[in-house]
C-alpha cells in the first residue's frame, strides 16, 4: 500500500495508451467497488469497459463483449466467482484470457482455490490501484502477444497453403513439360 510519489500526474501509467482499446469486464456485486474500478480504469486510459453487478448476467455479457481481460470478485450472491471462473475458462478454450480475481477474502485457501480454478492473478482488497493497473498491463501485454502469435500463425498457415498450391501447380507444369 504505497502512496503515489508527488509528481505523478495523468501520465502516471505511460504504457496504458497501448491497451486503451483493449476490452475490460468488471464483475463485482458492490456498486462502490464497481464505481471505484470504473474511475481507476478511466484514469488508466481504458476506454472500453463493461461492468456487471448482477453475477447472473456475467457470462452473457462476457460472451457478447468478448473481453481481453476480466476483473472478478469472488463472494457474490446468486453465482459466485468460482463458477464464473470455470465458465470463463470453458468458454475461452485454448485462447489466453487473463482473469484477475479481486476479493476481500484474506483466506489462504481461497486464494489457492481461485488460482486452481483458473485465475491468472489474485489481489486482495483493499488493493493498490497502481498494482492493479500494472498487473493488468502485464497480462494484457501477454494477451497481445498471444493474439499476435495467433495472427502470425494464421498468416504463416495461409502463406504455407499458398506456397503449397503454387508448388503443386509448378509440379503439374513440370510433369506436363516432361511429357
Amino acid at each position: 500500500m504505497n502512496s503515489e510519489p508527488e509528481n505523478v500526474d495523468q501520465r502516471w501509467l505511460p504504457n496504458a495508451a497501448l491497451f486503451s482499446k483493449m476490452k475490460i469486464v468488471v464483475i463485482d456485486d458492490e456498486p462502490a467497488n464497481v464505481a471505484l474500478l470504473e474511475a481507476m480504469l478511466d484514469e488508466g486510459g481504458y476506454t472500453r469497459v463493461k461492468t456487471v453487478t448482477d453475477s447472473r448476467l456475467a457470462m452473457e455479457i462476457c460472451v457478447d463483449f468478448e473481453p481481453d481481460l476480466v476483473l472478478l470478485d469472488l463472494m457474490m450472491p446468486h453465482v459466485d466467482g468460482f463458477s464464473i471462473l470455470e465458465s470463463l475458462r470453458a468458454a475461452a478454450g485454448e485462447s489466453f484470457l487473463p482473469v484477475i480475481v479481486l476479493t476481500a477474502d484474506a483466506n489462504e485457501t481461497t486464494k489457492l482455490r481461485a488460482l486452481r480454478a483458473g485465475a491468472t492473478d489474485f489481489l486482495l482488497k483493499p488493493f493498490d490501484q497502481l498494482e492493479v493497473l500494472l498487473r493488468m498491463a502485464n497480462l494484457l501485454e501477454t494477451r497481445r502477444l498471444h493474439l499476435q502469435l495467433d495472427t502470425q500463425l494464421a498468416a504463416y498457415a495461409d502463406a504455407v497453403r499458398e506456397r503449397t498450391s503454387e508448388l503443386r501447380e509448378a509440379q503439374v507444369q513440370l510433369q506436363k513439360s516432361e511429357c
Partner: protein, 728 residues
C-alpha cells in the same frame, strides 16, 4: 530328639495352628488304634477259647474227665483281660490310661496264649506281634508297661511255672533274661519308628498349617480386594465365586450371580466384543483387558476396566476364568464431559475463526472503497487543504487495514493455523535485511542506527525466516518510533548460553516503568501512549511474542525509566547447513549425468540455501542456475527463461510457494516444467497434497547431496524424453 523340620519360619499363629493340627492327628491315631485293639481283644478272647478247646478240651483223671482248666482260664481270665480294656475304649477312647491298660492287657493276653498252648515257643511270637501293633499308637511309652509285663511274666512263671511258659519242667533263669533281651531288641526299633512317625506328623502339621495360612491369605485377598473379582467356570460360563466388591458393583447378591453368566449382565452393545474376547482366550490368549459396560441389577450402567485371565489346573488345562473389574464409571463420565467440553471449545474456536475471517472480509470491502477513492482523490490535483484531508483519510484507512491484518494474524496463531517453516537461518543475513529496511525511517528521524556487535557469518539460529524478520522489524520500528528524534538505537547479537542466541535491540527512549512491563505483551494495550501522536495498533508486541513462542523461542525486555529499553529475542542456535558441504567436489556417481544439461531455476528466500545449491551445482558446467528470492520474481523468470527444472521453496516472502506452484501449473507456458519442492516441513499429508498438485519430487532440508542429484537428474531426464517425444 528329632528336630521338627519346617517349623522354623512359621509365624506364631501358624505354629500354634500346626501344634493344634499335630495334636488332632495324634488324638485321631490314639482313637483309631484303641478301636483296633478293642476288636483285636475280642478276637483274641474268642481265639483263646477256641485254642483252649482244641488243644486241651478236657482234663482226665483216670476215666473221668472234666473240662480242662485251660478252657475255663480262656473263658474267664481271657474275658477278664479283654473286657476291661474294651470297656475303657468305649468310655475313654484315646485317653492315656486306656492305651496303658490296653498295653498291659495285650501282653497279659500273650502270656495267657502261651500258657494255653503249653508254653509253645512259637506262641511267643504273639509277644513280638503285639509290641508291633502297640507301636501303632506311635507312643513309645506304651511299650514300657508292655515290656515290664512280659519280663515279669517270664521271670515269675520261669521260676514257678516254667512249663506254662517254656513248655519244659525246669528252665534256666537265663532263658527269661534272653527272652526279655529279644523284646528289648525289638523295642529299640519300635521306639525309633515311633519317633520317626512323630517327626513326620509334625512335618505334615506344619505344611498343612502353612498351606492353610497361604490359602487364607489368598482368600482374604480375593474377598477384601478393592476391585471386583469373580471366578467363572469354563464349562457353563456361570459365576463360581465372587467377592464383596463385585457384588456391590453390579448390585446382585452372591446367590443371584451364581445362576448367571457374565454375558447375562453385560451391556448388549458390548456383548459381541466380550464373546469375541472369551473365544480368543480359549484359543490361547492368556490375558485380556477391555473397557466395557455391565448392567447393574437396578438397571444402571457400570463402566468397567475388565481384565480376565485363565486359571489352569495342575495339568495345564483351562479350568476357570478369573475376572478382575475396576469401576471406571466416573472416569468415563469425566472423559465424556471433557470430550463434550473440547468439542464445545473447538466449535467456539471454529466459530471465532470464522467470525474473524468474515469480519475481515466485511471490513475489507468498505475499506477498499475508502482507500480506493482516497487514492483517486490524491491524484486529482487537490488543493493543499484537500490534500491534508485526504491524507487523514488514507492514514486512518491504512491504520485500520493494519489492525485487521494483525488481528487476523494473531487469531491464526492462536488457532494454530499459522504455518511456520523453522530451519537454520543466518542471523546476520536477516538482521541486515531488516536494518536496510529501517534505515530510511531512522534517517528521517535523524537517529543513529548501529550494530554494536560484529556478528559473524557463522551464527545460525533455528527460525522461520519471514516471521523472524517480521519480529525484528517490529522491534526496530518500535525503537525508532518511540525514541526521541536524534536518539540512538543499537542492535547486538549475543550468546548467553552455548546453544542459544539473542538479538538485543536497545534504544535511548524514555524507558518503561516496571509496573507497566507486565502489560507490554497484552493485545491493544499501548501503555498509555495513545495520546503521544505515535501511530500503532497495540498488537505488534503481542504478535511478536506469539510468533517467538511458536518458533520455540522467547522474547523479553529490560527497561528502566529514563535509561531506555532493551528488547531481546532468543532462539535456539543451529549448525550451519553449509558446514557439511565439501570444499571441492570431485565428479562422481552423484553428479548430474552429462546428457542432462540445462537451466534450473531455484526460487528460495533463504540465502544460505541458495548458496548451498549454487555451490553444489558450481562444478556442473552443463547446468545453468537461475535464482530468485521472491515468488513473483521466480514466476517472471520462469515465464522468460522456461527453465528445464524449477526447484521451489514453499515459504517465500511475497507470494507463497503453494501459490507459485498453482500459478506455474495453471499457465500454458510453464505447465509442463518439472517442479521439485525443497522444504523443511515434510509431513506425509503435505507431500501427498503437493504430489497431487503436480510436483515431481519432494526434497527435505537439510539437503542430502546424493538424493539431490538423483532427483535433479531424474526430473531433467524425463523432461528431455518428453521434449523428444514432442519433437517426434
Amino acid at each position: 530328639m528329632f528336630e521338627v523340620a519346617g517349623l522354623t519360619g512359621l509365624p506364631e499363629a501358624a505354629s500354634e495352628r500346626a501344634e493344634e493340627l499335630f495334636q488332632q492327628h495324634r488324638r485321631q491315631i490314639f482313637r483309631q488304634t484303641d478301636q483296633l485293639f478293642a476288636k483285636l481283644m475280642l478276637f483274641q478272647w474268642v481265639a483263646c477259647i477256641i485254642i483252649a478247646i482244641l488243644v486241651s478240651p478236657r482234663t482226665w483223671d483216670g476215666a473221668s474227665s472234666q473240662i480242662h482248666i485251660h478252657v475255663w482260664s480262656a473263658i474267664f481270665i481271657g474275658g477278664a483281660i479283654s473286657l476291661f480294656p474294651v470297656w475303657m475304649t468305649r468310655v475313654w477312647p484315646g485317653a492315656v490310661a486306656t492305651r496303658y491298660v490296653i498295653a498291659v492287657a495285650q501282653m497279659l493276653m500273650s502270656a495267657l496264649l502261651i500258657a494255653l498252648t503249653g508254653g509253645r515257643i512259637e506262641t511267643h511270637f504273639h509277644v513280638f506281634g503285639s509290641l508291633v501293633v502297640l507301636s501303632f499308637y506311635r507312643d513309645w511309652r506304651v511299650l514300657v508297661p508292655a515290656t515290664i509285663v512280659v519280663a515279669l511274666d517270664h521271670f515269675l512263671r520261669g521260676i514257678y511255672l516254667p512249663y506254662s511258659v517254656y513248655g519244659v519242667l525246669s528252665a534256666s533263669p537265663w532263658r527269661s533274661v534272653e527272652h526279655a533281651g529279644w523284646v528289648i531288641f525289638e523295642n529299640i526299633f519300635l521306639v525309633i519308628s515311633c519317633f520317626r512317625s512323630i517327626h513326620e506328623m509334625r512335618f505334615i502339621a506344619n505344611r498343612t498349617a502353612a498351606l492353610e495360612a497361604s490359602d487364607q491369605r489368598s482368600r482374604q485377598l480375593f474377598d477384601d480386594a478393592p476391585i471386583g473379582m469373580a471366578v467363572v467356570a469354563l464349562g457353563n460360563e456361570k459365576f463360581k465365586q465372587v467377592n464383596a466388591r463385585f457384588t456391590e458393583m453390579v448390585g446382585y447378591s452372591d446367590a443371584e450371580l451364581m445362576t448367571r453368566t457374565p454375558f447375562d449382565i453385560t451391556h448388549p452393545d458390548d456383548l459381541a466384543e466380550s464373546q469375541r474376547l472369551v473365544k480368543a482366550m480359549l484359543r490361547g490368549t492368556e490375558r485380556c483387558s477391555v473397557e466395557k459396560r455391565y448392567l447393574r441389577s437396578d438397571g444402571g450402567i457400570l463402566w468397567a476396566a475388565r481384565t480376565a485371565c485363565i486359571i489352569r489346573d495342575k495339568d495345564g488345562k483351562p479350568r476357570d476364568f478369573l475376572i478382575m473389574v475396576e469401576d471406571i464409571t466416573e472416569r468415563k463420565h469425566a472423559e465424556e464431559a471433557l470430550r463434550g467440553a473440547k468439542k464445545e471449545a473447538d466449535r467456539a474456536n471454529q466459530a471465532k475463526s470464522e467470525f474473524l475471517s468474515r469480519m475481515s472480509h466485511e471490513l475489507r470491502t468498505p475499506l477498499n472503497a475508502i482507500l480506493g477513492f482516497g487514492q483517486l482523490l490524491e491524484r486529482q490535483n487537490p488543493t493543499s487543504q484537500q490534500r491534508g484531508r485526504v491524507e487523514h483519510i488514507m492514514s486512518a484507512g491504512r491504520h485500520l487495514l493494519n489492525l485487521i491484518n494483525e488481528v487476523l494474524d494473531l487469531s491464526r496463531i492462536e488457532a494454530g493455523h499459522l504455518q511456520l517453516s523453522v530451519e537454520p537461518v543466518a542471523v546476520a543475513e536477516v538482521l541486515n535485511e531488516a536494518l536496510d529496511l529501517m534505515r530510511p525511517l531512522a534517517a528521517e528521524r535523524s537517529m543513529d542506527l548501529t550494530v554494536t556487535t560484529e556478528f559473524t557469518e557463522n551464527l545460525w539460529i533455528l527460525a522461520d525466516r519471514q516471521r523472524l524478520k517480521q519480529v525484528l522489524l517490529n522491534l526496530l520500528t518500535n525503537a525508532v518510533k518511540y525514541a526521541p528524534v536524534g536518539g540512538r538505537v543499537a542492535v547486538s547479537v549475543i550468546q548467553p548460553e552455548a546453544r542459544k542466541t539473542q538479538v538485543v535491540v536497545s534504544d535511548s527512549g524514555a524507558g518503561i516503568a516496571t509496573e507497566k512491563l507486565a502489560r507490554l505483551f497484552t493485545p491493544f494495550d499501548r501503555l498509555d501512549v495513545e495520546d503521544s501522536g505515535v501511530e500503532g495498533t497495540g498488537l505488534g508486541l503481542a504478535l511478536c511474542q506469539r510468533l517467538m513462542h511458536a518458533m520455540g523461542g522467547d522474547i523479553g525486555v529490560d527497561s528502566a525509566v529514563g535509561k531506555g529499553s532493551a528488547f531481546w529475542i532468543e532462539l535456539p542456535a543451529a549448525d550451519s547447513p553449509l558446514a557439511g558441504l565439501p570444499k571441492s567436489r570431485t565428479v562422481g556417481a552423484g553428479d548430474v549425468s552429462a546428457a542432462t544439461g540445462g537451466t534450473i531455476l531455484y526460487i528460495e528466500d533463504n540465502l544460505s540455501n541458495l548458496t548451498l545449491v549454487e555451490q553444489m551445482l558450481a562444478e556442473q558446467s552443463n547446468i545453468h542456475l537461475l535464482t530468485a528470492m521472491q515468488g513473483g520474481l521466480g514466476l517472471d523468470l520462469a515465464r522468460q527463461h522456461l527453465p528445464d527444472l524449477i526447484l521451489l521453496d514453499l515459504h517465500l516472502p511475497d507470494i507463497g510457494g503453494h501459490e507459485v506452484l498453482a500459478r506455474l501449473r495453471s499457465e500454458k507456458l510453464t505447465r509442463d516444467i518439472p517442479i521439485v519442492v525443497i522444504s523443511a516441513d515434510a509431513t506425509k499429508g503435505q507431500i501427498q497434497r503437493l504430489m497431487a498438485a503436480g510436483v515431481r519430487a519432494y526434497l527435505t532440508k537439510p539437503l542430502d547431496i546424493g538424493e539431490f542429484f538423483r532427483v535433479i537428474d531424474e526430473a531433467m531426464g524425463s523432461r528431455d524424453r518428453q521434449l523428444e517425444k514432442a519433437v517426434a
